[in-house]
Amino acid sequence: MPGLGGRFSTVVKAKISKLLDRAEDPQETLDYSYEKQLELLQNVKKGIADVVTSKKRLQLQSGKLEQQVVKLDTQARQALSAGREDLARAAMERKVLAQTELQSLDQQVKELEDQQQRLIENEQKLRTKIEAFRTKKEVIKAQYSAAEAQVQISEAATGVGEQMADVGLAMQRAVDKTEQMRARASAVEELEAAGTFEDITALGEGSDDIDRQLKELTSASAVDDELAKMRAELGTGEGEKPAGELGAGSAPAETTEERPQ
């Protein structure tokens, strides 16, 4: 393996050390570091806001999918009670698909929450370190000779520099993760746009025979419901056979009418 230079920690440390060695003049290090520290603190805030935005977007999608799952489930039940197993199956297939996506989205939301938490902690840590650095900077300027100051500053700057590198790393990882999620969210949106999770009756293009039949079924059962309601209000049965209550002793005839099939 090319470039295999040694142990894990050595390689990681070497990278950071290399970067920290760049600043030579302690005074420059001091001011430059402090400036950079504040700059990075702003970036971390932006990074956190970014993660929150992505999370909200995923949560929104997740909510939509949840609704679709409920809707498809209801449709599957309707279809099944009407004896249309084919339609029930079609609805269930979509429901399962939507559920799978939902699980994956929820998992991602959780991951983003972890990232967010970690960034917030890191931001706090960096803020505290920067403040400690600022204090130390003033003390060093006031009390030490140039030679002593150099040593002190260099240690302090390294301490903060490491933290900066670390926050930078945490942020980079959060951004990477967020970008992956964005790609994922877009993919889900595309599926949505293609009607993959749509409830079966609301399908636009590609509306096939099954969809049409289910639509008919839904409206047919709605008509049934309305008729049943009407009959109840009128206190009659089917019209031609007003024996609903009177003929209670006879065969338990179903009051729901035959559906046109």
């Binding site: 393996m1 470039g3 894990f8 840590k125 301490g159 670390d166 790393l169």
Partner: protein, 99 residues
Amino acid sequence: MIVRIATEGQFEVDQAEYEAINDLDSQCVEAVEAGDEERFRQLFSQLIAMVREKGRKLGDDELVHSDVILPPEDTDLEEAKQEFTGEGAIPDSLIPGSG
């Protein structure tokens, strides 16, 4: 000895633990070289756990440099591999002032 777990924080670990940490660290590298994901995950978690357990977490206002820096806990095998060949878990470019 100061050990940093990247993206987590610094720990002061007794010098006596150095050998154990060093050993696990080397084993991690071997697992990475062998491309053994499971073994890498296991060893690396052990390494992180050891530092957390044996170490004293440094305060946020302590400004000291680390003697050892470990990659982030959630480093996967792919990132670990790149650590030795390319940018890895700690890309050079992300550190402010490096450009």
